[in-house]
Subunit: 151 residues, 2 copies
Amino acid sequence: MSEESHPKAEDCNCLAVRQAARHVTQFYDQFLAPIGLRMTQFSVLSRIKKRGPMTINALAAELVMDRTTLGRNVLPLEREKLIAILPGKTDRRSKELHLTELGRERYEAGAKRWAAAQRQFDVAFGDRRASELRAILRAVTKTNLSGKAAN
Amino acid sequence: MSEESHPKAEDCNCLAVRQAARHVTQFYDQFLAPIGLRMTQFSVLSRIKKRGPMTINALAAELVMDRTTLGRNVLPLEREKLIAILPGKTDRRSKELHLTELGRERYEAGAKRWAAAQRQFDVAFGDRRASELRAILRAVTKTNLSGKAAN
DNA sequence: CTTAATTAAGGGTATATGCGCGTATATGTG
DNA sequence: CACATATACGCGCATATACCCTTAATTAAG
């Protein structure tokens, strides 16, 4: 018997989640493409819509995204006037991301498309399994992998 | 009662899998960083190592990656002499990706790091749940979401 | 109040991602 | 064989991702 079973490449957690992410993102992006939004962009608009104006740092944390990544992802949205980036009221270092009226409209249009994609996914994958999927993915995202204590 | 429950943004399958992918990728990439490999690159080397020389198209399909994406991802690996890109023997349009000796060595080094990351993930998330996670993610990746018949 | 430590964000660099369009080669058909 | 079709791949474009280092502003220490 082997004293220790070598971990196998085909069991890579990271590869599995990345492949799934690519597969699912392409699907959702097809639905959003006609209105000129990507999934990432829709996520940003959706979050701001729901939670109100937020700073880069705060939004990045909620989206589980690097701060600098969000800073760049936000630029196309600002260019298209979907969001406004205003200086923070109390802290002049920070920037508040505001949803513009145009952004709200675009979000609403996107929400319809998103809902269609979501329905189709749930049908294809099964409602129950889709629900399981989201639960286990949320658990993954919440897991402190580094082992260090989270302050 | 509402005649139909609106799908909720926080239940987005796509966002969930993307966030998890970012979270997990950062973790694995930290392990691979010291030897100068990213997860994507390690996946490419690993696949070629396991399956032997492959064309861009074939490898892209296996990695659930767009053909053009892989075409670009392969360039840094070629630049560092980890893989060799040779013209296809029978079909001159295709290119065969070969693992070089240097690439094999780098892969072996990466495999050690990857195994450490994988172990730590499995411990933090739980072996059983990690196994479930991979199973459901594989199911997602395999699911034909478009509804069209797959030729 | 002055200085040190902390925090918010930008810029540089590099890779990752995929669509649309174009080119070269291969294959099927008459 | 000539021609239409299919396939393998590259390039341009735009966004996505995250590292490092830096700057500006806030907050804590003295």
